[in-house]
């Protein structure tokens, strides 16, 4: 299990991480999301020991991470991460050996992975001669070649075609099923929602939400109920106590309820207003959740930027 504990890091005067903590369990696939500049890459670099945190620590299986342990981690940086002029197989063997494998084991691992990812016939070519899709497969092979105990991937899905996404998702799922904690960052939230049971959402260097996607969706912003009523007039939900918002689209209403409101009262009101054909608790998608927590935090910040702009003019 990977534990990130109270990580803080600044670059000059810029705070990149501010007391960030979350865990990745064995066999868990965790989606790591946040707007650009939120500190995702910094967090990953600290987890891999590329950067030292100003405060806080990274623990692996209950212990502080030593260099020898770190060599058993697998990392795929954003875009490339390969020598363009080096041959595919040589490159994989080299990386495997840097991760501590003996020459023979490294060669065997490289051959096995190129076979598994369908690039065995290109193993003797230079990386730059391969198509983009194949380059991404080599990149994946490079992250997996030493059979890592932990996988950290920075934007692994960006730029992949749907087939590539499926291949990568399959391989990552396989590793997670084998007990390896997998963390990846992504902006494709529908993909994260589909692949990951859990997410960690960060904004401005702070964790704003973390946990199982289902729990987060249920727990968010009170509740929203979708009601379809035929033959009802316009303002019927507003009479119900605890209603916080109403959106109407023909016969369909999206009604926001305060956490302590009684949804049965809403149903009663709907039945009085017309014939109810649909009544369900509406959970936000991850994308909506993301917008909510991230935008919420942004709104809380003092609105300094627009004012400064106005003064500037």
């Amino acid at each position: 299990m990977l534990e990130l504990r109270h990580l803080s890091r600044r670059y000059g005067g810029v705070v990149a991480l501010d007391d960030l903590s979350f865990n990745v369990e064995a066999g868990q696939m965790l989606g790591f999301v946040g707007p650009n500049g939120a500190g995702k890459t910094t967090t990953m670099r600290i987890a891999l020991g590329l950067l030292a945190p100003d405060a806080g620590e990274v623990r692996w299986r209950g212990e502080a991470v030593a260099a020898a342990t770190r060599r058993r981690f697998g990392y795929m940086p954003e875009e490339r991460g390969l020598y363009p002029k080096m041959r595919v197989r040589d490159q994989l063997v080299y990386l495997a050996r840097l991760h501590g494998l003996a020459a023979g084991a490294a060669a065997a691992a490289a051959d096995r992975l190129t076979e598994q990812l369908g690039i065995a016939d290109r193993a003797g070519d230079r990386v730059e001669q391969l198509s983009l899709g194949n380059q991404q497969r080599v990149q994946l092979a490079a992250a997996l070649v030493h059979d890592p105990e932990l996988l950290v991937l920075d934007e692994p899905f960006s730029g992949l075609d749907p087939v590539g996404v499926d291949v990568l998702a399959g391989v990552l799922g396989e590793r997670a099923a084998g007990g390896v904690p997998v963390v990846f960052s992504s902006h494709q939230l529908d993909l994260v929602e589909r692949l990951c049971e859990s997410v960690a959402i960060i904004n401005r260097g702070q964790l704003v939400a973390a946990g199982r996607v289902d729990d987060l969706r249920t727990a968010s912003r009170g509740r929203v109920v979708r009601v379809q009523v035929t033959g009802a007039g316009g303002g019927w939900p507003s009479a119900v106590s605890g209603v916080t918002s109403v959106q109407r689209d023909d016969d369909s209403w999206l009604v926001g309820l305060a956490p302590d409101a009684d949804d049965q009262r809403l149903l009663d009101a709907a039945r009085t207003a017309g014939a109810v054909t649909h009544f369900s608790a509406e959970r936000p998608t991850l994308t909506e959740l993301f917008r909510e927590v991230v935008a919420g935090r942004v709104d809380e910040e003092p609105a300094a930027a627009p004012v400064a702009e106005a003064v500037g003019r």
Binding site: Y11, G49, E79, R80, L82, L98
Partner: protein, 388 residues
Amino acid sequence: MLLVARREIVERARDRSVLISTGIVLVMIALFTLGPRLLGLGGPDDYTVGTVGAGSEALAGAVAERAPAADAEVTLEGLADDEAARAAVRDGDVDVAILDGERLLVDSELPGGLEALLQESSAQLRVSERLTEAGVPAQDVGAVLAPEPLAVEALNPPEDRGDRDAASGLAFFTVFILYGQLFGYGMWVAMGVVEEKSTRVVEVLLATISPTHLLAGKVIGIGLLGLAQLTLIATLGVGIVLLTGATQLPPSAPAAIATALGWYVLGYAFYACAFAMCGALVSRQEELQNAITPLTLSIFASLFLAFVALSAPGGMVAQIASFVPPVAPMVMPVRVTLGEVAAWEVAASVAVMLASIGGMVLLAGRVYQGAILRTGARVKIRDALRAR
């Protein structure tokens, strides 16, 4: 670290450019040593002189006798008569025909060397005839015409002129090759660093080894390849010179070559670290030229100062330059090759160089660690030093 060094050597040695550049340098050595002879310069001049009539033979004989002293070879060819002489001259079979010991027949004009040879021989022949007529005994004529030269006693005898020229030639080549090696291999280090940074390979590598080891492995790997190439060039270059016998090697050659190799190691260590540091500051190959400008200028200044040292190895400029770390690696080999340097100077220069290499390693290591993960705009050295 060994793995990194090994990769650098294997990947780059596979690249044909190493072989090609070695080949080019060797061809240049061959051209430089053999060239003058191929162009007809330097070696003895070959002349064919035709003779018509018995009166020409004494002159022809005198010419042939004087020829070796004038660095020329003369072949004599007897011709039947004036007509045959005209035909031979017109066809270029002979360079000149002597007609009855009185007149010279040429196609257009006499080659300068040959003209002097003929006129002097003729003059001497006439003088010796007069001397004989005046009653000087035949055995004394030679002594009169060519008296013993004055004996010269030198307080500081110069070296053999041939050795001196050969040493200069060797020093010239040493400078030229060192310039190429320092610049070429330094550039490789810088480009390698930028390649790793721009492709983010460095992030994968640094997850497994420390920046210091990565940098050291790269610098050492590329440096060993450079040293191997230099040794190959030196061996084959000396081989070419010895085999062809075109130019003589100065007696100081083995020491000079060993010195040059040693200074390559020192100079490379200094510049490779500096190049790596500059490479770490930028994120794209296009920005590299700008970042390494100070180093390019420094190496160019070294080349210039090395040529100054070549013409005045004991001069003030050369002496001062020997103690300026960035230029010493190219100036010192020149001075050592030309033998114009005291042992203490070499020792002091090496000591200064080692100290500055130590400083450069520390500086470059810090900057490299501080800058290598910062992609985007060019990193300032000060910011890189401040980063942890």
